[in-house]
């Protein structure tokens, strides 16, 4: 009997050890923040990974791509440099990364997701104080969400950084056709991968000139192939190998994150046709906070013209457009030092 009890005790101790390890909290040192909190808003629980130097209470709130990416997709060389100076908040949006919750597909909307971002800032203020300052950065789809957030309420932010962001997803269809054609002709003229670029011209000639989801998906998919070819031919730098990003293998439960990503993408893109109907161009003049637009010269996924138009239409008095001439859709990976330098310079110039 004694040994039987001993077995139970051993099992209980093992369970307590598991629970203790799981509940260990990180150090709250403001110079070296590394903590994960959750924002509960309208039936969703969304993780925010807060890292970096929060001593000045200046935070860069990031919005990932997708829809359906993960907040931590930004981590790497560029953001390591930024984290040395300022706090960075990586946020898993509703239905993305390790976010969880219980709501219906009909509940999900771009407007609700923008409210989620505003809710995140309220939480950060509660945690770090009302004197905290926030910059917003959105990459790719994060540019759509960031613009939607700022149009809704920009009062909590002191600056906006859009990185290869799609503030006019509905316009991407035409931009793809135009960019593919121009790029293909330029590459053929240079004698680079002629067969490939001729096949692109042929593909573009068969695309329906009227925007539709099937052709949009195909164009979007081909855009990645084009960037790959431009990388192979030496126009885009090879992405730096990020050891930090490899750690994501353990940070995210891949099956959960992939399922989440597919689910939210299906809801927003397939069911709601978000990329067919969303265009913030006419509302950009409402955004008046200092803004920095960054785009890769060879971005085929959200062509550089998108950043140029946003720069022209934004209502901010302080605004900048930085084109990275050795980059495609992810300048933070292909020109990380310059990316970090531009972002830090913008933060430094506009913090209060």
């Amino acid at each position: 009997m004694k040994n039987e009890y001993l077995t139970y005790i051993k099992l209980t101790v093992l369970l307590i050890a598991f629970l203790s390890l799981a509940s260990c909290s990180n150090d709250d040192n403001p110079n070296n923040l590394d903590e994960t909190i959750f924002v509960r808003h309208k039936n969703a629980d969304m993780p925010a990974y807060i890292r970096g130097n929060g001593a000045e209470k200046v935070f860069l709130v990031t919005l990932h791509g997708g829809p359906g990416g993960g907040g931590l997709e930004f981590v790497g060389d560029a953001f390591n440099i930024i984290e040395d100076q300022y706090g960075v908040v990586y946020f898993d949006q509703r239905g993305s990364g390790m976010s969880q919750g219980s709501y219906t597909e009909e509940d999900v909307s771009l407007d609700l997701m923008a409210e989620d971002v505003l809710a995140l800032v309220k939480v950060l203020k509660r945690k770090y104080g009302n004197d905290s300052q926030f910059f917003l950065l959105g990459h790719s789809w994060g540019g759509t969400l960031g613009t939607a957030t700022l149009v809704k309420d920009q009062s909590d932010f002191i600056g906006w950084i859009e990185v290869d962001g799609a503030n006019n997803p509905a316009g991407l269809y035409d931009q793809y056709i135009e960019t593919f054609t121009i790029t293909a002709n330029a590459q053929i003229a240079l004698g680079n991968s002629v067969d490939f670029w001729e096949s692109i011209l042929e593909f573009v000639s068969k695309v329906d000139p009227i925007s539709n989801l099937d052709d949009f998906s195909e164009l979007n998919s081909r855009a990645f192939d084009l960037e790959e070819k431009l990388t192979d031919d030496g126009f885009i730098n090879n992405p730096v190998s990020n050891a930090d990003r490899k750690k994501l293998t353990f940070e995210y439960n891949a099956s959960t994150a992939i399922w989440n990503g597919r689910q939210i993408a299906t809801i927003l893109i397939d069911q709601q046709g978000l990329f067919q109907v969303t265009d913030f161009t006419s509302q950009l003049p409402e955004i008046t906070i200092p803004s920095l637009f960054i785009s890769g010269q060879y971005d085929m996924i959200v062509p550089v013209v998108s950043a140029q138009k946003a720069f022209e239409n934004i209502g901010s008095e302080v605004k900048e457009l930085q084109i990275f001439d050795r980059s495609g859709h992810s300048p933070l990976d292909t020109e990380p030092e310059r990316f970090a330098a531009e972002v830090l310079r913008f933060l430094e110039a506009n913090k209060q």
Partner: protein
């Protein structure tokens, strides 16, 4: 945009349909497997119902197992099995006979799992259901475990709830989900020993409703069964 997700979303496509629960297919499969086990009514086959002890304690076994996906999720599963029905199925063959033991067991589990790396995937769960297990004369086992009753409660780190302009810290934050599951696995019986067997299962759990859908999750389970009655003999 969509394919921009560097690490593992390269297969993501706009038109891919969302994963739908395949519980009905699994249930039909389960019934099919069991019916195969009992469906051979040839004259060479004899099915005999075993006499089982009356005592609840004597018909119960306990189990402890690792559960998780190794890379992302790791945890422990504690459970109990109660032998509900047992049949001995013998079949005559040219060289001797073959005797397989078929058991139906009531099953209940309590478990804990976490992602130590991020703390975003911690939770406890409980489930209950039925196990069908076949054991051959060498003690090798095959089992299918179906747990229609399941509950998972996530535990989140520091959480703040936002209602309008009001922000409040949530105590013991987390969410409850209905989680039916099915496991298919193999094992080895150790007759007359306290550690009465070992098993390896592949488990499929549906966490519902989760982010506007039903989250499918796969786990591996490796563990041991204990029968403390064997000790007294």
């Amino acid at each position: 945009m969509t394919k921009n997700n560097y690490w593992y979303y390269h297969s993501l496509s706009f038109s891919s349909p969302s994963m739908k629960p395949k519980l009905s297919v699994i249930t039909v499969g389960l019934i099919f497997c069991i019916s195969i086990g009992f469906g051979q009514n040839e004259s060479k086959i004899k099915i005999q119902k075993s006499e089982l002890p009356q005592s609840f304690v004597k018909r119960a076994e306990y189990k402890v197992a690792y559960t998780g996906s190794i890379v992302w999720l790791n945890g422990i599963n504690l459970g109990s099995e109660y032998l509900w029905k047992e049949y001995l199925k013998s079949k005559k063959r040219r060289r001797g006979g073959r005797m397989n033991k078929h058991q139906f067991l009531l099953n209940a589990n309590l478990g804990f799992s976490t992602n130590f790396s991020s703390k975003t995937d911690t939770g406890i769960y409980t489930n209950a259901g039925l196990i069908w297990r076949r054991t051959n004369k060498k003690g090798k086992q095959f089992n299918i475990e179906f747990n229609p009753l399941g509950y998972y409660r996530s535990f989140l780190p520091e959480t703040f709830e936002v209602n309008g302009d009001n922000v409040e810290k949530v105590a013991l934050a987390g969410r409850g989900y209905y989680t039916p599951s099915i496991s298919v696995g193999i094992g080895k019986e150790r007759k007359g020993k306290v550690r009465s067997g070992s098993y390896f299962n592949v488990n499929y759990t549906l966490r519902t409703s989760y982010n506007g859908g039903n989250l499918p999750a796969w786990y591996l389970q490796y563990g041991f069964r204990f029968n403390f009655n064997n000790k007294k003999k």
